[in-house]
């Protein structure tokens, strides 16, 4: 009886997900005979290493900025009353559910040479010429941060809301300053949420395609754009597959790490003082 429930779904996913993805990833080992040449090329080619490095650094920076911006927001939401909490969460969730294309278009409108920000700056007189804020790494980083912030805020919030306020209150009663109580008691308890958020942001940013493709510079491409080029322009499926294989392995490894923090979070039900 169990089978009736599970089989249709498993069959569907096996046919239209497992099969095509493994078939594509296996391609990287064949060119056409069994060979590691494409992987070697991906790891040793200077251009490719540069692209890989740029992708990793930007993802890491996005993670960091999201942590700095998102942690305080999660903190305030966790301590807010019902109504305020709902309002702030709406501010976080509405962009989360807005199509990414809409947000990218908005950044083009904001950052362009005649865009909102440049027009405002020039009208006020702060600057004479438009600042190049679009089609470069700055625009990509800014937009990625904007898209990824909810992915940081929500895990932080879900851990923080389980931290009992009586803990910091007890610390302060025993003589600790608010800052000390926060640093020694609250912050360590909130760490799993922050770690989960950082990992999540890093993982997802690494695979970003749309944002760098529309907002990035032509000579500063990211890994996903390279893969797309190899498929559509160079039609080098084997190399594209090798690059994708690297991306998938890194993504899945970090995800496994992320899972351990999330599981850790579940065990955080009670706190030993």
């Amino acid at each position: 009886m169990t089978l009736v429930f599970l089989v249709p779904c498993i069959l569907f996913l096996a046919l239209f997900f497992l099969l095509p993805v493994t078939s594509f990833l296996v391609r990287g080992f064949f060119d056409p005979g069994l060979t590691l040449r494409n992987y070697a090329r991906a790891i040793t080619g200077e251009i490719y290493l540069l692209i890989l490095w740029r992708t990793i650094v930007t993802s890491f920076l996005t993670s960091l900025i999201c942590l700095v911006l998102g942690y305080p927001v999660a903190y305030v939401v966790a301590h807010a009353s019902g109504r305020t909490q709902a309002v702030i969460l709406a501010f976080v969730l509405i962009p989360f559910w807005t199509s990414i294309l809409v947000r990218v278009f908005a950044w083009i409108a904001l950052l362009g040479r005649n865009g909102v920000i440049n027009s405002a700056l020039m009208q006020i007189g702060i600057t004479d010429a438009p600042i190049p804020m679009l089609y470069n790494n700055f625009a990509v980083l800014l937009s990625m941060t904007h898209v990824m912030l909810p992915y940081m805020i929500l895990p932080c919030f879900s851990v923080m809301k389980n931290i009992s306020p009586s803990l910091t209150a007890a610390a302060e009663n025993l003589g600790a300053s608010p800052r000390r109580a926060f640093l020694r008691i609250y912050f360590p308890l909130s760490l799993p949420g922050a770690a989960a958020g950082c990992l999540l942001v890093f993982i997802i940013s690494g695979g970003f395609y749309i944002t760098p493709a529309l907002l990035g510079g032509a000579n500063g491409i990211f890994l996903s754009q390279l893969i797309e080029q190899e498929v559509n322009s160079s039609v080098d499926w084997s190399f594209a597959s090798a690059l994708s294989g690297i991306l998938v392995v890194v993504t899945v490894s970090f995800y496994v790490l992320y899972e351990r923090f999330v599981a850790f979070d579940d065990d955080l039900g009670e706190v030993q003082p």
């Binding site: 997900f17 993805v21 305080p72 702030i88 809409v102 278009f105 865009g115 529309l214």
Partner: protein, 269 residues
């Protein structure tokens, strides 16, 4: 004592201002796009100089946009149907049956969300070339369902777990088999979750772009794909109008989910 309180108040004020700025940053794009869509001038500028529905008229008149909207709408509806059917059945099996390898299955189900969407898009593209499914609505529905099913299973598993097992045991003891129990007893009890899952699957498909980039063709493409083409080729405020419409769709879906959940929960209790 007074210094300590003043200090903490100043600290709290700084924190609140900082958070308000971050929230403003989050809201900025959505807020900017809407006025731009009503601005009469052809260039993208702000603040708007006047008010016009011209760009929305263009959206309705230029042939490509309405076609793309139709494709997106049909695809999203069918995707929701497929994903919710397959996913709910699977979630029911996961929450009600014991079998070996459950953990492995759960990880497998989450894989479409973990694997980078570009890799998924390329893989499906390669498969669809062989199956001749490029530029077909069936192809879109299949591909989008792969993305939507993990969401549906997650939501429905949580919903089923919230149902009191005693109710289902009672139904079984009265003679209903598993399928009948699911249909007549369990499903009505998880209606809020079912609604959320359906609308979520719809939205996932409606907003999806990366897969659409690969499996569209000039005749059959989705609204996000058309928007992408517009951004790459010719940026004009029609895109702002389309963006505003998309924002409206997302907000509408969210609002329906929020309202219906409260409505259903009130009528059940």
């Amino acid at each position: 004592m007074r210094d300590k309180r003043d200090g903490s108040r100043a600290r709290r004020a700084t924190l609140h201002i900082f958070v308000a700025l971050v929230l403003l940053f989050l809201a900025l794009p959505n807020l900017i796009v809407v006025p731009i869509s009503f601005n009469p001038t052809t260039i993208i500028e702000f603040p708007p100089r006047g008010f016009t529905m011209h760009w929305y008229e263009r959206y309705l008149e230029l042939p490509g946009w309405l076609d793309a909207t139709r494709v997106s709408f049909i695809t999203a509806s069918l995707t929701a149907a497929v994903a919710v059917s397959l996913g709910t059945l699977c979630a029911y099996g996961l929450t009600h049956c014991a079998f070996p390898g459950k953990r492995l299955l759960k990880s497998l189900i989450l894989l479409p969300l973990i694997v980078p969407s570009l890799v998924l898009a390329i893989s499906i593209y390669k498969l669809f070339i062989q199956l001749d499914l490029i530029g077909t609505i069936a192809g879109f529905v299949v591909a989008h369902s792969v993305l939507a099913i993990p969401f549906v299973i997650t939501i429905m598993s949580a919903s089923f777990r919230g149902v009191d097992p005693a109710i289902e045991k009672a139904a079984r003891s009265l003679g209903a088999n598993r399928l009948r129990t699911l249909w007549r007893v369990s499903l009505p009890l998880v209606l809020p979750g079912l609604l959320s899952a359906t609308l979520l699957a719809f939205l996932v498909s409606f907003d999806e772009l990366i897969i659409a980039l690969f499996i569209s063709d000039p005749f059959v493409s989705t609204l996000p794909k058309k928007l992408w083409d517009g951004i790459r080729l010719e940026v004009d405020p029609t895109l702002a109008a389309v963006s505003t419409i998309l924002i409206g769709v997302s907000l509408g879906v969210l609002a329906i989910v929020a309202w219906s959940r409260r409505h259903i929960e009130e009528s059940v209790t």
